[in-house]
């Protein structure tokens, strides 16, 4: 691991320590710094994943969109549960994807699970198996909006 990532890790962990402890005296700061540096140093194994990291900056617009989707589908599921007729129509869906890189597929699978009405059950790099509760959530899935947004965020880095 390069000194740069060591320093970045230490700074990140130290920031978390300061946030969680909330004490700014010399004792707590020095303990926190030592702990952060020690943890960063112990975790010096080289990156065992060849995968590129998530394009965090490009995803900033994705989170609010995902949150809106979650709210919409939550209201839909709430309606279904409170409906006396319980209008559900559960099914398994094979969902082939060509996102390619593993972080993108993981992000897609997690987003699908986080959205009420759809749950990712099996994941491979080219296909997801998804359980959908009703027609509305499965049709929302088949519009592939979510996959398109994720592909856009990853695509700008020269990959699909």
């Amino acid at each position: 691991m390069s000194p740069r990532t060591l320093i970045l890790k230490t700074i990140g962990l130290f920031g978390l320590w300061v946030l969680l402890s909330g004490k700014l005296d010399a004792f707590h700061l020095s303990i926190g710094f030592l702990g952060a540096a020690l943890i960063a140093w112990v975790n010096t194994e080289p990156q065992h994943l060849d995968e590129p990291p998530l394009p965090h900056v490009r995803l900033i617009l994705y989170w609010p969109w995902l949150f809106l989707e979650i709210v919409k589908s939550s209201l839909n599921i709430t309606k279904i549960i409170l409906d006396p007729k319980l209008p559900i129509n559960p099914r398994l869906i094979q969902y082939p994807t060509n996102l390619g890189s593993n972080p993108a597929v993981v992000l897609l699978g997690n987003s699908i699970t986080l959205t009420p009405g759809t749950v990712t059950i099996e994941v491979s790099s080219s296909e997801l198996v998804i359980h959908a509760l009703d027609d509305k959530s499965s049709s929302g899935l088949e519009s592939r909006d979510m996959e398109r947004k994720i592909a856009e965020a990853f695509h700008s880095r020269g990959q699909t």
Binding site: L19, S74, I77, I81, P90, T113, T120, I121
Partner: protein
């Protein structure tokens, strides 16, 4: 601001109640997980935001946001693993009877 936090917590409790009703009403483990994902997202979101408002602007707010962040990363993974285990052990999803 007592009104805002009370309102937020009540909305959150409403969604948590709906999720509990859903656990009872839905037929199998797969569809029940959909009810649970309401608690993950909207239920805890509203309750914790309400608690943050109740606290006022302190360092605790940051911790609450960290809890939310952790929940939103961990819960999908956990329900995915549970359902995958169910499917691999031969639990068939409930389907609507054709009439």
């Amino acid at each position: 601001m007592l009104a805002v936090d009370t309102l937020l917590i009540c909305i959150g409790l409403f969604f948590l109640t709906v999720a509990a009703i859903g656990i009872v009403r839905l037929p199998d483990v797969f569809s029940r997980s959909h009810a649970l994902s309401i608690t993950d997202t909207l239920g805890t979101f509203f309750v914790l935001t309400g608690v943050a408002f109740y606290q006022g602007l302190t360092l605790a707010d940051v911790k609450i946001m960290l809890i939310l962040l952790a929940l939103w990363h961990l819960n999908p993974v956990i329900s995915h693993v549970i359902l995958r285990a169910a499917l691999r052990n031969g639990v068939r999803p409930w389907v609507k009877e054709k009439k």
